[in-house]
Structures are given as C-alpha cells and as structure tokens.
C-alpha cells in the first residue's frame, strides 16, 4: 500500500467511550486516526507513527501524560509535533506545567465543547500543512 496523503492524528485517551467519541469526531475528516490508551503505548506509537498532531490526556495508565509530553518533546524526531492536552485536570498549575512542557494548547474536558476542539485541531494541522 502506498503512503497516504492523510495527516496522522494520534489520540491518547484511556477512557474507551471518550476515545470512541473522538474517533467519531475525526474519522470522517481528512486525518488518519491512531489511538493509544495508555502512556507507554502513546510513546511507542508516537515514535513509530510520527503523527502530525497528538491529542493527549494527562491521567493515563503506565506513564502519565506529563511524562509522555516530556518524552515526545525530548525526542528529536518528535519535538516539532504539536501536542494538545485534553484532560480532566484543570488547575492553573497543571495548565502551566503542560504548556511549559511544550503543549500548544490545553483543553479541560469539563469546559470543552468538542466542536471547539475539532476546530483547533484543524487549524493547527492546516498551519502545519502550509508550512
């Protein structure tokens, strides 16, 4: 099979229902969706897939999201990959920590409308395409 023109979006989410909801949100778009349900799997898949964007939860089994973010951003092959956080953690410290770690945006699940998240991801990927 030849290489696809689609961009790869890696969704890291341990909640099965939410993961499927996010898949439904994006799978009809022009992106190829990959998913990981724990931190270790997320790191492994990010290194294998070289996704164009990572949507990352922070509370994850095995390796937490902050650590995943740190590993991704310290990997020369992945450090330019935009990471958007979608998490239940909503304190200013968590937001600050994630942004300091290299996340380009931070969405708190309880306050997030999925259409806003969808638009943000499209916007980031379109900028990435143009660049």
């Amino acid at each position: 099979m030849s290489a696809p023109s689609k961009m790869v979006l890696l969704i890291v989410e341990d909640d099965e229902v939410l993961l499927r909801a996010l898949y439904i949100l994006f799978h009809k778009s022009k992106y190829t969706i990959a998913s990981a349900t724990d931190g270790a799997m997320a790191v492994q898949m990010a290194q294998r897939l070289k996704p164009n964007l990572i949507l990352l939860d922070l509370l994850l089994p095995k390796i937490n999201g902050f650590e995943v973010l740190r590993i991704v951003k310290s990997d020369p092959a992945l450090k330019e990959t935009p990471v958007i956080i979608l998490s239940n953690l909503g304190s200013a410290e968590d937001v600050e920590r994630a942004k300091a770690g290299g996340a380009i945006d931070y969405f708190i699940k309880a306050n997030t409308d999925l259409s806003v998240l969808e638009n943000k991801i499209k916007q980031v990927l379109e900028i990435k395409t143009q660049s």
Partner: protein, 274 residues
C-alpha cells in the same frame, strides 16, 4: 446533532470522573450516595454511548506506519469497566425484556397471569360455574335419595392448556353435579348422554386450582323432583405446577429482584474501577 451527542458523552464521562474523585474523598452515607449516582451515570452513559460500540468495530481503526510502508490495523484496548457495565445493563435489559415477553405471550397460552389478587367482595361458600347458577341453590337444598344411583368418576385427564377433564358414567340423561375442593368448593354440572357417559371440564384459565391435592365428589341431581343421589366415593387428584407455572406466578417478584441484582453489580463495578 452528532456534535451534541458527542458533547453529551464527554459531559457524562466528566461527571463520572468528578464523582469518582468525590467518592474517593468521602466516607459513610455520603460515599454511598456517590456510589449510587455513579452507578446511575454509568448506566446512562452505557445507553447513550451504545452507538459508539455498535458503530466502530474493534480493529477498524487503521494507522499508517512509515517503517512498514503501509496501513496497519490498530485495536482499541477494550476497557473492562465498560464491558462490565454494558454486561450489567444487558442483563438488566434481558430480564425486563423477558418479563415483558412473559407478560405478553404467556397469558395467550396459560391464561391470565395471577399478578393481582382481589379479595371476595361477597363471600360465598361456593364458586359456581355460569350455567349452574340458576340451579345451584336447588341442588344444595335437594333431598338425598339413597335409591337414586350415584354416578361414577372413572378418569381424570389432564389436557394441554391447563384443562382437566373428568369422565364418568351415570344413569342416561341424568344431570351430574361435580364438586371440586379448593378454598371455596367449585361446582360443575353436566348431563350424561344417552349411554350414560358424562364429561365435565375444568379449565385453570377460568378458576385456578392451587398446587396440591384436591378432592372430587360427584352425584346425580334430579331438578324436577328436587332430589339428589348419595355422592360417589371421594376421589383425589393432584395439581402439580410446572416450572413455567411457577415462573409465571413469580415473574413480578423475579423481575423486581433484578433491580437489586443490578445495584449489587453496579456497586461491585464501581469499587473495581476506583
């Protein structure tokens, strides 16, 4: 529409997360309240998110692997909590669907379900079948004439649909009265044919005999003369309920116990997933 639904799924998963956080830090009755709310939310989420499970097959998500130069299927890790929750809801639904099916279909085969019992508004000594109503008083007050031959009860046959057939011999064309023991005596009458054969049917659909032994008495009754024969020897037969009878009888209790079962399963799931 799709967006609203997905946001609802997101909202519910958030509520469940929040409730779990509160549950972890609570004790006593307050904790129990969180458990019940959690169970309710999980069940609601299970219903609302069902299309997610129906719409996406496992391994239907593919990703491009550069190192392999092609697509490869990626399986979702199936979350045991969701599986168990859906299983719990599935059991709940099955039980209630089963109950509904029994309520709808069983009466067609076995007669009305004894879901409610109404006390006698006018207590009487005898439950009388319709066509005997006019003569019921007459045979009770009839004189016993020992010279009048007694009818014979030869056979009690159980046929499909909960009907019992009492068959016997008598004087030709004589009226036969049959008494069935129950809480109230059940009275039937019928006429013997020209050969002296008579047959009386009792249907459980009309009057339900309880499980156990019942006695049967038969005698002849001459309405014109106002006399009756001596009753033939008392005979007994046994009503044995099948498991279907018992199930039908207890269906409401069984179905309501399913609620308790679901709550127990829900509590177990909640503690498993904290």
């Amino acid at each position: 529409m799709r967006s609203a639904w997905l946001n609802l799924v997101l909202s519910l998963t958030n509520r469940i997360y929040s409730r779990k956080q509160e549950l972890i830090h609570s004790t006593g009755v307050k904790g129990m309240r969180h458990v019940f709310v959690l169970i309710s939310l999980e069940i609601i989420l299970a219903f609302i998110s069902t299309p997610l499970y129906l719409g996406i097959k496992s391994a239907s998500v593919s990703a491009y692997f550069r190192e392999k130069g092609g697509y490869e299927k990626i399986n979702f890790d199936y979350n045991i909590r969701r599986v168990l929750t859906l299983t719990g809801v599935g059991i709940f639904l099955l039980i209630w669907l089963f109950k509904l099916a029994i309520i709808i279909f069983v009466p067609q085969a076995y007669g009305p379900l004894p879901l409610y019992r109404v006390g006698n508004l006018e207590p009487i000594d005898m439950v009388v079948s319709g066509d005997l109503a006019a003569t019921s008083v007459a045979f009770q007050t009839a004189k016993t004439l020992s010279s009048l031959p007694s009818p014979q009860l030869k056979e009690i046959r159980k046929v499909a649909g909960g009907t019992y057939v009492f068959i016997g011999n008598s004087q030709p064309s004589m009226e036969v009265v049959l008494l069935l023991s129950e809480k109230n005596t059940i009275v039937y009458s019928g006429a013997a044919d020209k050969n002296g054969r008579w047959e009386i049917k009792h249907s459980q659909k009309d009057i339900r005999l309880s499980e156990g032994n019942h006695s049967v008495l038969v005698y002849n009754f001459d309405a014109k003369s106002g006399v009756r024969s001596v009753a033939a020897g008392e005979k007994f037969f046994k009503i044995t309920n099948t498991w279907i009878d018992s199930l039908v009888k207890d269906v409401d209790v069984s179905a309501n116990w399913s609620v308790v079962l679901i709550v127990i399963v829900g509590i177990l799931l909640t503690f498993l997933t904290l």
